[in-house]
Amino acid sequence: MNRIFGKFAFGPAIVALVLLGAGSLLSWFLISPLLEAMSQTSYDVPRMVLFYSTLPRLATALLAGAALSLAGALLQQVLRNPLADPTTLGISAGANLALVVTSLFFPGLLGLGRDMVALAGSTVVACIVMSLGAQRGFSPFSLVLSGLVISLWCGALSAILTLLNERYLVSLFIWGAGSLAQQSWVIPLSLLWKTAVIAVICALVMRPLSLLDLGEGTASALGVRLTRLRFIVVGGAVALAAVVTSAVGVIGFIGLVAPTIARLSGARRPQQLLLWSPLIGAGLLLIADTAIQLIAGKLGEFLPTGAVTAIFGSPLLLLLLPRLKVRHRALQLKERARSWTSARTGVLAIALVGLFVALAIGVFLGRGVDGSWGFPHGALFGEIVPMRLPKVFAALSSGAMLAVAGVILQRITGNEMASPELLGVSAGATFGVAVAVFIIVPGLFGQMAFAAIGALLVLAMILLSAMRTGLAPERVLLAGISLSAMVDAIVGVLSSTGDPRAVLLMRWMSGSTYGVDARTAMTVTTAAVILTAAAFLARRWLDILPLGPSQAAAIGVPLRKSRFALFGLAGLMSAAATLSVGPLTFIGLMGPHLAREAGLVRALPQMVGAAAIGGALMVFADFIGRTIVWPYQIPAGLVSAIVGAPFLMMMLRRKG
């Protein structure tokens, strides 16, 4: 015993006992009314509820908490990354999306087993995230960053599928937000044996896994086969996340929180971490779920446990950020040396012509009452074109701003994956709308104001936390994406109460230009002109900052001031753009990349090219969205996300 577990760790044992004890106490509040009812009536429903709903639910909470925490601890140990867990690496969200897509489009496949479908989804995501991580030496930041992006994307796509199939899919939405409600022992029992099997497999690799603490070089010198070890352990964690997700949906961040608590309470050695994390996680989820049941019982509302744990778990990411060592080297932007002098004007000309073609199509082409394609003529021309103009201009301005913001972020962070969507500003805007829609309902203009307040608040929070940590670029991005995850969770809770207004929120999240009127379009366009001009003025900073902090300082660029100003600029642009096209366009990722690929390397040409490309893409996405399923409409943000996702995958793969 001593050889396996080393010195007995009292700290984590006490924490685990306290948590499990508190969970049991709360459970007692749930159980005792039933016991009372049982003794009072001859009618045996209270007893059945106790045996087949309350108790299985408690068992499910314990098991799911333990399984997810074990997955988190395994990932953290094997990846040497204190932020890794099934939520931050996108594994749970991948499983969820696979299940949503399957039940919508290939319901027959669910017959093969929900676990298999979930496993396929989580494996795909894990492969993508890992292959990207491998490129960067498994840098904690880049791994979690790409994991969270994929996680948010999967979550958004699931939500959007819900939107398009509105009334039918409310159930999927609930389930995606993680509900532990049970009506039999089937789920906890199957979770029990699956978790046990995977835990046993992982116990077999405990020794080599603990050798990893000595460093990779020493570990392989001692005979650890690193690749095989990683494969087994990551595979085990992915499988754990998949079986939990397929049974109860996405339960956010438990796998991050439990190992962190275990570590803080004194679990130093890997064996201790892997032993106590599941127990602590079981206690945590038990407390969370019983507390939610007690509160929900009072409110008479339905609260999904998974989304609630995410609300409380995601801020932990922010708190953990300062504990991470920055590895700036691993994230350096590879500057491509190319001869661009002659290509540059040609590329810019093509980009601008493309933009004008997109604008012409967006404004003039459309569909008639009978659904036929054509140009509006006669009296209708004067009525319909003014309707399309604001949408087209809002799309153009938003696309251009997102693309320029993307250029700025990629240049100052030196991270090719950086984009305004990752800043979390979009998430702040969405949360603002959520507050407006659910609490105050002040009409379109009020919603816009709330969105702007939300966006600016997030921006201020990012800047504040960034200032404390010295504006390290990766930290800012990770802080932003953590906020996105938190806001996503809050919106998830609001939406799954089943209120019809939730649909309004989902529309906002999916990025529709539908609500844009002339005044909004004018505001967005003015913002775009001013902010893009400001960005163009900062071109010197943007040329120099990618060279690295020391070189930039040597040349005389004020590091803090310039980064602060540029982050602020990118944040404002993202906020203004999100108001009309939603948080998930990926334009801020695609525009800068396409421009650079076309040979626009220096800051100014890249910004001009990215703005033209981003604007054209957004206008075209808007046009497709407005016409393709006439008379219904797909939000422009969704259309561009559908393009953006494969683009993202392509980029990730090319690096492999």
Binding site: D44, M48, T54, Y168, V170, S171, Q182, P631, Y632
Partner: protein, 282 residues
């Protein structure tokens, strides 16, 4: 059949009728009962899935999603009147630029019981489009129909009923005070087995085991289509479900779809479906 007769149709008016589009299912079915064929309605594609009757005439155009009514289409159709509800208030300024807007409140916070609100809205609609006589006739026939249901049911010893839509094998929506269904239950003299109060739309999201909060051991459970395919096989495996009174033979009924967020026509359809279930006529 009775409700279909009540709903009525009077194509004779079609010639002189104003060109009306509706952005709400309840309002458009009321319109049909007032003898007006609408020009267009939003979400027409789902009509047969959620509303079913009255049947929608072939000529009616689909305006797209009720959330994102297609304005280009709306303008091209040149309507005289647009019917809308507080649900779509954010569209009001833009709708007013297209045509005269008649906004009717049926589902709103603090509006109280829905059926009286729907009756009041029917009168307001009739006044706005000059069909008061038809409206009074329609409402009288509706009232007579409810009375007929009440009389039919009064003779029977009735169970209380819980009304739900299954969302998946673990969750459901249950319909409660102050919703439309609850008002109909009161009107035709049936007790709602679910005594808790819900949101102003008249429903509450619950987990299946919450159904055990239904106090009446003889209550009947009535679920409306569409029921997701895996729900019934799955809940039948649950010992908890087996122990609920609803699992006993004859205590669970599946009824065809009926719109829970409708007006008088939808109340009539629900009343007819329920009365025929509780008092089967051969």
């Amino acid at each position: 059949m009775a409700a279909a007769a009540v709903a009525g149709n009077a194509p004779a008016f079609a010639q002189s009728a104003p060109r009306i589009v509706s952005l709400d299912y309840g309002l458009v079915s009321t319109l049909l009962s007032l003898g007006i064929v609408p020009l267009a309605v939003s979400d027409l594609a789902d009509w047969d899935k959620w509303v079913v009757e009255p049947a929608m005439p072939q000529s009616v155009v689909n305006l797209g999603s009720s959330w994102e009514v297609n304005f280009e289409l709306l303008v091209a159709l040149k309507p005289d009147i647009i019917l809308t509800t507080p649900y779509l208030d954010e569209l009001l300024p833009k709708l007013k630029q297209v045509a005269k807007v008649v906004r009717l409140e049926i589902y709103a916070p603090d509006i109280g019981p829905i059926l009286p609100a729907a009756i009041a809205a029917t009168r307001k609609l009739a006044a706005a489009i000059d069909r008061e006589a038809e409206a009074e006739g329609f409402l009288q026939r509706a009232d007579a129909f409810f009375t007929e249901c009440r009389t039919r049911l009064a003779a029977k010893s009735l169970p209380s009923v819980a009304l739900i839509n299954f969302m998946d094998a673990r969750h459901a929506r249950i319909y409660a005070r102050p919703g439309l269904y609850h008002n109909v239950l009161e009107r035709i003299g049936v007790r709602n087995a679910w005594t808790e109060e819900s949101n102003y739309w008249g429903f509450q999201t619950i987990a299946i085991e919450d159904l055990s909060r239904v106090a009446d051991p003889d209550a009947r459970l009535i679920a409306f289509e569409p029921v997701p395919a895996d729900v019934l096989p799955k809940i039948k495996q649950s010992p908890l479900w087996q122990s609920l009174p609803f699992a006993r033979p004859g205590h669970l009924s599946i009824l065809p779809p009926a719109l829970m967020f409708g007006m008088v026509n939808e109340a009539l359809r629900f009343g007819r479906l329920l009365t025929d279930l509780l008092d089967p006529k051969e």
